[in-house]
Amino acid sequence: MRRAATLLALLAAAGCGELTGVRVVDFAADQGRFVLVDVALAPSIDLEALRGETVVLHGGARLDLDRIDEAEDRGANRAALVRGAQPVRAAYRRDGAVAVPADFDSLVMASAFVHLEQAAAFFAEHGAPVPPAPCLVAPQLTGTWSLPDADALAYVPGLDLFLLLPPGRDADPPLAVHRATLTHETSHRVWYYELWGGSLMSVRDALDTDPSARAGLNLLRAANEGVADYFAAADSGDPRFVAHASGASPPTWRDLDRNPVLDPAWCDGTAPLGPGGYDPYRVGSVLAASLWRIGDRIGNAALTAALLGAMRRLGAELRTSFSYTLGDLERHLLAELPDDARAIACAELAPAYAPIWPRLAEACR
């Protein structure tokens, strides 16, 4: 009888005490594979509702994509456009002081939550904190246009929120468990706040009526993607994170440890074209790979700080008068760097940006 009582006491004790960590999936760049890792938790985190300092997950939301045009900056009218959102209720078991997700949805949500919090911390450490934002899990999307695929992650600037679409049958592992991918998406949010100052909608409305601004906006999208790829690689230490996240047939041209060169046909912002129109990733890959090489030589911390500074300088310029040509972000980046680092950056940029180098080289003098 006493033995049974002791056993019961031990079992009861196993379920007590404060949780200090959660088990999630991530890609280990040093091992070249996905692994399970235990991540320490901040005391303020609500693990069941997955509510943290910079992100909170919601399920059951309905979003009419056709109404995104009605969005006001910083999610001001988000409540009117996103219906039915409610807290998620992730399920866990305890392994000592570590919470172990008890089902697949909980594992994916907890992994995405942890990676979004880590990405926000990465940018905050470099002087670019972002306010809290919601992340809609498997939302019901309606409207005449749609996102390209299931298992997509997206940041929607108009609503200032993330979308985490359900993984499809071929998404294995899902994108949401890949930290670098979430750093990439968080970079778009940092771009929105640091470059646009959190006021993009009014600018966009004005530019929509100006056809000549379209090419500049395309090039700016390309810069946005290139910067996001660089930050994701710098945060994760994995220059091939896109290939590692993409499964069986990865697009290796987005590897940052390759040396892509700017095609002269890409310089005016009308090419290259992809299935959905302008493809910002090709031009972005030239910037991302150049940044990766520069970071390798001057240090990613120094380059990240300079890049954030360049985004702010460019944003101030654009908000005064919108005119963007290829190389403007790079020009501001060079201005942000100290002399010795600038010389290194110029040496790395020159071969990749050969078609526009005569104009960009002025910033190297």
């Binding site: 379920g15 088990r23 998620v88 209720r89 078991r93 305890r94 697949f104 592992p173």
Partner: protein
């Protein structure tokens, strides 16, 4: 209490009725995403006792489990199982008892030992976790008894059981 229960279970004498009971049904729980419900097959097996025919009292030991699984794909998946061993006591009220037939209502409550397993799988890496903890279980049901047999329906409610409840049809036989 525990000695009394053992006596009731082991000594089917002096008016004590013993029976076995199986409940087959479904377990319903809220999806972790907060959107909708998940349903899975569920089973409960019990050994019950009515200490005295004149008393509307029932004691029962029950094992409950369901087939909720973790889910996932080939690369990342979760395997999970959870079960409970509950000791229940409560009301067993027989209305409309006629000869060997009766309609009954039961309301049972008691503590439970909850045991669970979670396996997280990422390619060839597996992290297994067994857990155990105290819980509580309640059951409410109705049955029709004809001689040694009883048929009925039951709703099981678990405390801290991932917000799940079980419901099903019961088949029992007096020993």
């Amino acid at each position: 209490m525990s000695h009394a229960l053992l006596l009731c279970l082991l000594v089917p004498a002096s008016g004590v009725e013993l029976d076995t009971l199986a409940t087959l049904g479904v377990s319903v729980r809220a999806r972790s995403t907060g959107d909708g419900l998940e349903v899975a097959p569920a089973v409960a097996l019990g050994l019950g006792a009515r200490p005295a025919a004149a008393l509307p009292l029932r004691l029962e030991v029950a094992l409950l489990t369901d087939l909720h699984r973790g889910g996932g794909g080939d690369a990342v998946s979760v395997s999970a199982w959870q079960g409970e061993l509950a000791v229940l006591a409560g009301l067993d009220w027989r209305a409309l008892a006629r000869e060997r037939r009766a309609l009954g209502l039961e309301l049972l409550l008691g503590p439970a030992l909850r045991v669970g397993y979670v396996g997280l799988h990422v390619y060839d890496q597996t992290e297994s976790t067994w857990t155990a903890g105290a819980s509580g279980v309640g059951a409410v049901g109705a049955y029709y008894r004809d001689g040694a047999w009883r048929l009925g329906a039951r709703l099981w409610l678990g405390v801290a059981r991932d917000r799940a409840f079980q419901a099903g049809l019961t088949v029992g036989r007096q020993l």
